[in-house]
Symmetry: C2
């Protein structure tokens, strides 16, 4: 058994978790895996903040270069959360011959091609289990566990903040604002929750999952992204009555015309495996040609789960170092850009909520517009408290193409009797 | 890229699935993993049976020795399902320097110590992903994905036949006999379903899961096993009314006094993640000290899912052969016998159904016996159609030790007014 020396750059919540695991479980890990992990140095700009654990001042530094330049350090864990600076740290580490472990999904989704190429050029690997799904070993499952399969679809609830908010809105019929405040108080949402609420964090993670699943690279810019901001408690109520739960889903499907990849709030049938994934839990649903439907569920964030994934990567990196196999074949094929399906061609059933003046003839006008785009209506609900004479009209459509829906809803929103923007949500069947 | 030559011993459903995957997905697999898998020979005693696929007669043989003696074959897949004969095939293969892939849980659970020792002696590995949970990569998850964690409990629905039967009984309130017949017609149950219904198949799988989870070896004989045979549609109804679903659970928990490992029908709270795992799906719930609660769900049997796991093992074995690392560290520590907790000390809440003559004073007698063993009653239901004056008395107890319950129920069953054996089911909270 040989010792693996680790340098940790960025000492926040996850870094603290990693240090805790290596303190409490080091013997356990080396007995099980033959790898002895030791943190040789920790770098952070702020060494004074209280983190609940103490580490010897001798291994602390403000300078990341003290880790990158240290020839004894074999694995660098990048946990700074930055973009340009983190990119530089990772590239420098690879060039110095170090294996890299990171949880930085934003960086990988944006600059993955550059980074993974740099790793290959240096005959090294970037491990990123912690970047998606917290403690769920979903990267390993896709790269190895299901490697025999062609994956046809990936559906994920991969943002704990929005799932917590939607769950609380569903359970107690509170508003999005209240649920967000509650999430912030409980530490489930950042002070600035934009990245989560907007769906962008989910899109980052989807880029990694779908690129792995479909064997190529997905351009983040080509992922359709829509957040949960416009969901109201009314929508939760109406869709609940129709037998659906609203979830922020990250969806990627292999279709005849390319990969259909998108993030948006989605009506999920109450009986679907994903409908009951509540609170801060994450879940990833995969369909493979032989493995069939599977779902993997666990805590998607937080000190313990994320650190569990980081340390799994450290063990993996350690094993490879000990066997002299530093660039084990990964299934992320960055050289092949995946062909993307056009969002306009995506077919879904839709839920549409239209705030309209409560007067005869409104529904006829709306139905006529939908009809002119060949969109047929499955059901209509017209009820609710009147607010200054405005009532929501709720429609469920049959299968229709995105581009038709988009145009039809734009035209509906211009009707004089429609007061405010209609909300359109897609259904995942 | 180098080719890995495979010999398949036992050409049944799973073997057919493996051949199909390597036909349809070989290019996909080698592009993703760098491993090119080729079946060099298939051995089976019966070469005439119709299997829905054709393979060139030149690679078919009746003699397993033609695989084991072939120096070109690097990996042997044992799919005969036998015990003594399979053990011999595996040992011979290891001695000839071959890596072994098997789905034979019965053999591994019984003779794992001998087999894994033989592998180590020969500097080879036995891969067994397909032995538990069908296509769910649960062995990899335990060995690698969650390697940073000390696992505290494993709960599994790991027998599709019994889960199908219990699901059907719950959905449509049919009898166990009818549900079993239906399962047999649909190919979800064997002609002789004893191994499944008795819980023994689940116990085999639990030995493997728990040995991996807790880092030692569990003696199959020390696993408490109880099947589903005595569950009636009445029990489904009563427990459903109390908010529970009956599942055949395989349970292993690390306790202060050792590993508590058992298989029995269990009342699972309707809100538990495992309660909604229906039909032929399997699911494994794990709790780790950092990863927290996770659940992995998928099809637990069948040609496709099981073959998906076999081929994942073949890819893994192939990678190790290509990197010259033939005995990668596994986390199955066969030399350490795990200390087992005594079943008598296990504490559960219990459901007890007692068939008793409908006469005043019965309940008082029963309550008095329970009281004398310090078992307190949480609730009582006394209803149901009278059958020749016999009504079931349904009791839910508070937490009580197994040994007390066992003695109390034995004494209750000897009461003159009790007509028939009481049924006792444990609750998992």
């Amino acid at each position: 058994m040989r010792r693996i020396n680790i340098g940790l750059i960025g000492w926040g919540t996850v870094g603290t978790g990693v240090i805790k695991i290596l303190r409490s479980n080091a013997a356990h890990i080396s007995r099980r895996t033959g790898v002895s992990l030791r943190i040789r140095r920790v770098a952070d700009l702020d060494l004074k903040r209280v983190r609940g654990i103490k580490i010897p001042p001798s291994i602390l530094t403000r300078k990341a270069s003290q880790i990158i330049e240290d020839p004894e350090i074999q694995v660098v864990v990048e946990l700074t959360g930055g973009l340009e600076s983190a990119q530089e740290l990772i590239i420098e580490s690879l060039r110095k011959g170090k294996q890299v472990v990171t949880a930085n999904k934003a960086l990988l989704a944006r600059k993955g091609k550059i980074l993974f190429r740099e790793a290959r050029k240096n005959n090294r690997r970037i491990f990123f289990e912690a970047s998606v799904g917290g403690g769920i070993p979903i990267i390993k499952i896709l790269q190895e566990g299901l490697a025999a399969n062609k994956i046809s679809s990936v559906l994920g609830i991969i943002n704990g903040t929005t799932n917590y908010i939607l769950s609380r809105m569903t359970e107690d019929r509170i508003s999005l604002e209240m649920a967000l405040q509650e999430a912030q108080i409980n530490g489930y949402a950042e002070k600035d929750p934009t990245l989560d609420l907007s769906g962008v964090d989910s899109a980052h993670k989807l880029v990694l999952l779908a690129s792995l699943a479909f064997g190529g690279w997905i351009d983040l810019k080509k992922v359709y992204v829509e957040g949960i901001n416009e969901i109201t408690d009314e929508d939760i109520e109406y869709t609940g009555g129709l037998g659906y739960t609203i979830k922020l889903l990250a969806i990627a499907k292999q279709t005849a015309s390319g990969v259909d990849a998108r993030v948006h709030p989605t009506l999920v049938n109450r009986h679907h495996l994903l409908a009951s994934v509540d609170g801060v839990f994450n879940a990833i649903y995969l369909e493979g040609d032989y493995s069939d439907r599977q779902i993997f569920q666990g805590k998607g964030a937080g000190e313990g789960p994320t650190a569990s994934a980081i340390v799994a990567d450290l063990i993996e990196a350690g094993k490879e170092i000990l066997t002299g196999n530093l660039n084990g074949p990964g299934s992320l094929l960055i050289d092949d850009d995946l062909k993307m399906a056009s969002m306009g061609e995506v077919e879904c059933r839709h839920y549409i909520r239209i705030p309209a003046v409560d007067r005869p003839g409104v529904l006829a006008q709306i139905a006529s517009i939908l009809g002119s785009f060949n969109i047929s209506i499955a059901s209509v609900i017209q009820r609710g408290q009147r607010r200054r004479g405005v009532v929501p009209i709720i429609l469920m459509t049959h299968l229709a193409k995105e581009k038709a829906l988009k145009k039809a809803v734009a035209r509906i929103s211009r009707l004089p009797m429609v007061k405010g923007r209609p909300l359109r949500l897609r259904v995942e069947d």
